[in-house]
Symmetry: C2
Amino acid sequence: MADPPLHLRIRAEIEGRILSGEWPPGHRVPFEHELMRRFRCSRMTVSKALSALAARGLITRRRRAGSVVAAPPGERAMLEIQDFAAEASRAGRDYRHEVLARRIGKANRPETASLELEPGTRLLRLITLHRMDGVPSALESRVINLAAVPEAEGESFAAEPPGTWLLRRVPWTEAAHVVQACAADAASARHLDVPRGLACLVLERRTWQSGRLVTEARITYPGDRHRLVGRFSPAGGHR
Amino acid sequence: MADPPLHLRIRAEIEGRILSGEWPPGHRVPFEHELMRRFRCSRMTVSKALSALAARGLITRRRRAGSVVAAPPGERAMLEIQDFAAEASRAGRDYRHEVLARRIGKANRPETASLELEPGTRLLRLITLHRMDGVPSALESRVINLAAVPEAEGESFAAEPPGTWLLRRVPWTEAAHVVQACAADAASARHLDVPRGLACLVLERRTWQSGRLVTEARITYPGDRHRLVGRFSPAGGHR
DNA sequence: TAGTGGTCTAGACCACCGC
DNA sequence: CGGTGGTCTAGACCACTAG
């Protein structure tokens, strides 16, 4: 009859009271020994349930004071960023890319500042056009830190676009994103085959490994051909 | 000398090997009893460490087969969506809003379909303009499900914009977001005081409570005045 | 200072599942 | 079948901190 494990039932009960609003932020959660009595179990079991809730940010636990319902987090959006090839194959479309430019140079002044690089760091700069069924769907301008990914220097990125190549190869520990809308400039409009000035979605992504910048990408999507979407729940899961 | 708790040290060691790439996806993590011997501790302690890694999606645990390093997730962007008032106060700017339109009506056909509502559901429709230091910074078009939030019917939203009001009042369990770029239409351009056709960032957010739609908001930002930003690590934390 | 949560132990039984 | 992880117990000591 008690198919779900006890610690999950304890967790679900408290979670329900918080998410339903019955226990508002600041409300004190029962002490561990109270829950032990109520559920007739050992302290480890209630501790497991409460720790899971704390890990998800639903409650705050303090010694002596007990646990209280945490303030709800600020609003966040979790957006999926599809790999071009994966997105295309799911949609049953043909994906191709072209490397429009590829050159190696040293980080210039603004880059050393904004990317927090050592002066003189060697960078691989790439401009790549992504096509779905032959139609230009995104223009990517990317910088790869050759000090972090030396193998990239010998790579032409003809077979695999740089984003996919890096994702397979370099385990990243941190990423930052900026999303904004921009009018297509002359060069972007030409490559994407859209009118100059068209509203475009620009996604900038920087990726670090243990504090060192691996790559920065600036991807321009024609606004009417691309949407970033995501669905998730406040504490944890996305789907 | 062992200041960090043992279960955290076990977790950190395994985490390090995974994130550094030393243990690629599919690599078998040592069995619990191996870790018990290596760290000279009880099974509960190693189990706690491994469970935390599994909860973060870094490993997959299977009976009999042991634990293996999980495949890295697809790329995701976690973006902060600032509350207007909070954002303004942090930046030391003056925030105000005006409710441009407010009316109650029944869900029309496309809405019942796209929002998964019962036909005839009563909706509160709002159009709100947000200003920073007097300058229009966002135009919001919102629908509130009065079946889910009946108190909204008597609310004028003069003192507090609807997003903030709802966030304080309604605990939500699920949200979906769409971000895209659009050219400002005539009405948006007029309200936002920008040229018609300007590239704008459009954020759509739908929020549910236990499967029932609470609200849908479509917020238009002039593209040159707003950026969505976010920073996070692959397994868990954002900051 | 007393009571809370944080950590840890040394067992135990069980469900699952690859061999 | 046997070994794995999943769960749970009944204790223990300690660090922290509100009162």
